[in-house]
Point group: C2
Chain length 442, copies 2
């Protein structure tokens, strides 16, 4: 079937691009989603969606059932403001989870629920970038999650970037030190595994970063939204090595930002948490008072951050996340087993692209092959990312251009989370057709 309908009519796509006033180099993920929906309607073809990192799995019933129980049994609860620093039950559950799965000892007062990891990243950057007047720049290990840069803009902070493509290992540390030594950097942010490349920082790199953060008084903002999804290692057994690598082993200057969206497929209820280093939490920076009513980091995060943005996290979703973490810590719910589904999918989808002449943009993970997980990156010869996106759209496929992730390289991010098993054959057909088209026409 596909042979006849692809490529789709490029005039339609051109017209949609014009009508929506977007271009494929700078388009946001949500704008791209709207464009694709429109293109689906106009062409009558169902696309294989690989642009948006939506969990493809249903959540365990633990979360929803707990919300239901709480809303049934505690009739006053919806009327009661949540404590800004989170309900005690969830703070305790986070503390235990972090102990068992990150091998990290913190206290409930250091564990702050957030309205998604988004709020955690926002407030972490706000605090990190507002401690010293001259250190108002957030350094990104790129490519990265595009919205993090929108957050620095929202906060009126500056941003700077290092690309993993050029720097790993000692080179990465040298480059970080070169930039840190300017004194302009307040925070360093990265995700591990990395969205979009699935690069995973190694212990040696984290150790070096931690030492530099201490030396130059920079706060590490470590986003572990994809906890445990470096499937080359099994991080699923509590209190037993190997543990998910974390910079918190090597410095007291950290915020660890975590999400329930991917680990627990709970994206729709917007609940995550941030762990503040116990020592950092107590440190004072007089400049913070310009932006909050306190100079103490922990206080600035909660009373100067959570309070003025949302005044806390909904009661119901906090109980949901607490119940999930409790079940995980008791060994009653092996969430990582469930999300191996993404790994299996990545193996298949990656193979389809590679066997058809595409290459990985970020292929090497400090000497190892890149892991299989939620995302990977592809390119076609020396074609620009926006041009490649244009062409895969014509073949009913999607992805996001690396240009919006802060990458210095040309290519696309492919997300495997929404691809159904029943779509694999069709994906093969379309990618193969695309290859033939690119080979003979471009």
């Amino acid at each position: 079937m596909t042979d006849n309908i692809f490529p789709l009519n490029a005039n339609i796509l051109d017209q949609l691009l014009q009508e929506n006033r977007v271009n494929l180099k700078t388009i946001s993920i949500r704008e791209l989603g709207i464009l694709i929906n429109d293109f689906e309607k106009k062409s009558g073809v169902k696309f294989i969606r690989m642009e948006f990192g939506i969990p493809g799995l249903s959540p365990s019933r633990i979360g929803p059932d707990e919300e239901i129980r709480i809303l049934k049994e505690n009739i006053k609860l919806p009327a009661t403001y949540p404590p800004f620093d989170g309900i005690p039950r969830l703070k305790k559950a986070i503390t235990l989870f972090v102990e068992k799965f990150l091998n990290l000892e913190v206290y409930p007062e250091n564990c702050i629920p957030t309205v998604g990891a988004m709020q955690g990243c926002l407030i972490s950057m706000a605090v990190a970038g507002r401690r010293r007047k001259e250190a108002n720049t957030i350094l990104f290990l790129d490519p990265g999650f595009p919205v993090n840069k929108l957050q620095t803009k929202f906060l009126g902070l500056e941003s700077e970037s290092i690309d993993f493509y050029h720097y790993r290992g000692d080179d990465l540390l040298k480059e970080i030190e070169r930039i840190f030594s300017s004194g302009r950097i307040g925070g360093l942010i990265w995700s591990n595994p990395n969205n979009p490349t699935w690069v995973c920082l190694k212990e040696e790199e984290l150790e070096g970063i931690g030492k530099l953060a201490t030396k130059y008084d920079v706060i590490c903002i470590e986003d572990i939204s994809y906890f445990g999804m470096d499937f080359r290692y099994d991080y699923s057994i509590s209190s037993t090595p190997p543990f998910q690598p974390t910079v918190s082993k090597y410095t007291d200057n950290y915020f660890i930002v975590m999400s329930s969206s991917k680990m627990f497929s709970y994206a729709g209820q917007r609940v995550g948490f941030t762990v503040i280093s116990p020592k950092l939490s107590k440190k004072k920076y007089p400049t913070l008072k310009k932006y909050s009513d306190t100079e103490i980091i922990g206080h600035a995060f909660v009373h100067g951050g959570i309070y003025p943005t949302t005044a806390g996290v909904p009661q119901g979703t906090q109980h949901a996340l607490a119940a999930i973490l409790e079940a995980v810590c008791k060994g009653e719910y092996d969430f990582l087993k469930k999300i191996h589904w993404y790994e299996e999918k990545a193996v298949k989808v990656k193979e389809i692209f590679l066997s058809n002449g595409f290459n990985l943009v970020y292929a090497d993970d400090l000497g190892e092959n890149i892991a299989d997980g939620f995302y990977f990156t592809i390119c076609w010869k020396n074609m620009t990312g926006d041009n490649l996106l244009y062409h895969i759209l014509l073949f009913g496929l999607t992805g996001i251009p690396l240009s919006i992730t802060g990458s210095t390289r040309e290519g696309l991010r492919i997300c495997v989370s929404l691809i159904e098993d029943t779509q694999i054959d069709e994906l093969k057909n379309r990618v193969s057709n695309l290859k033939n088209y690119l080979t003979s026409n471009i």
Copy 2:
């Protein structure tokens, strides 16, 4: 009984103030709550709590039951990111509610769910104060909700203030125009009814404010969290005058911020909404691009505001609020009838203070008596607010000092929402004892 135990031991209070490193002039509401909890424990006396604006009523079952239904029936929903601009069902319900109860015609695209009115105020101020480089000041009609000023700080904006005590009617408009004409004002924020004074702006004042906002291109941020709670008028009958007064009748430069916390006793689930003027929503300001990726107001609110702060509002709570608004619009749920409870309470509590020699700080509402509602303000002769607070604490009573609300006057805000009927006699006793004490000792 109370004669023997009051005043409580001042040494304990002094020690707690020192230990908690707070002073009663600048203490935040939450810090005060902690102080009072500690004082209760150490003194063994249950306080009559009047400091924190927590809804005293249980919510209707409509909201929780809808969350339960959705979480039971739609097993994929918690895995699905909410649209940043809100779920279509809620946007439609808000549109209808605003039409029926504010007599205001807008479109679903102008109705944006938020994580509480807190997020609505934050983003409204961000957009209002970042449109023109020189107009980075938010003007407050004070006294007001202390956290709003914390929000301007969080955003790095400036703030300025006019006190209702000195300016109402034409004088208010003249003073606003004097300050607007400087060109420094990006947004004007107030709440109506006003927290803490329960002053309610009149149509003539709103008309004047609207005209000035248009003339000087200032955005009005109208916080109607206490919708309908000026109980001197009945705003409960849909599509029938009188309507809750709103500045949106008089200018296209408005954000209306609303909350489910007080109207629907849904504070714990953190869900509210903001209505953006349809005309304002489409306006462009190039300076906005410094803080978001767009120069269009509506886009800056959603993609440059909701997205980088929380990436949307939880799915469950959006359905709850939609169900509540739907029931209200169908006439199946008369929420204002329920919250008359606060009015009755205010009448009793106010009378107790006034009959014991206390006075209202803000007593006059442009020639009328101030309405009875959630809050009122009291003073004792020319005693400072922090000193008065110190003394009422010694009598097992609480309130917040007006100094933290931006008021130029000395006194306390009293919140009636948590006072039980069974506490009224005890309140009488304590206030009477306090009066005797103040009269003979101070």
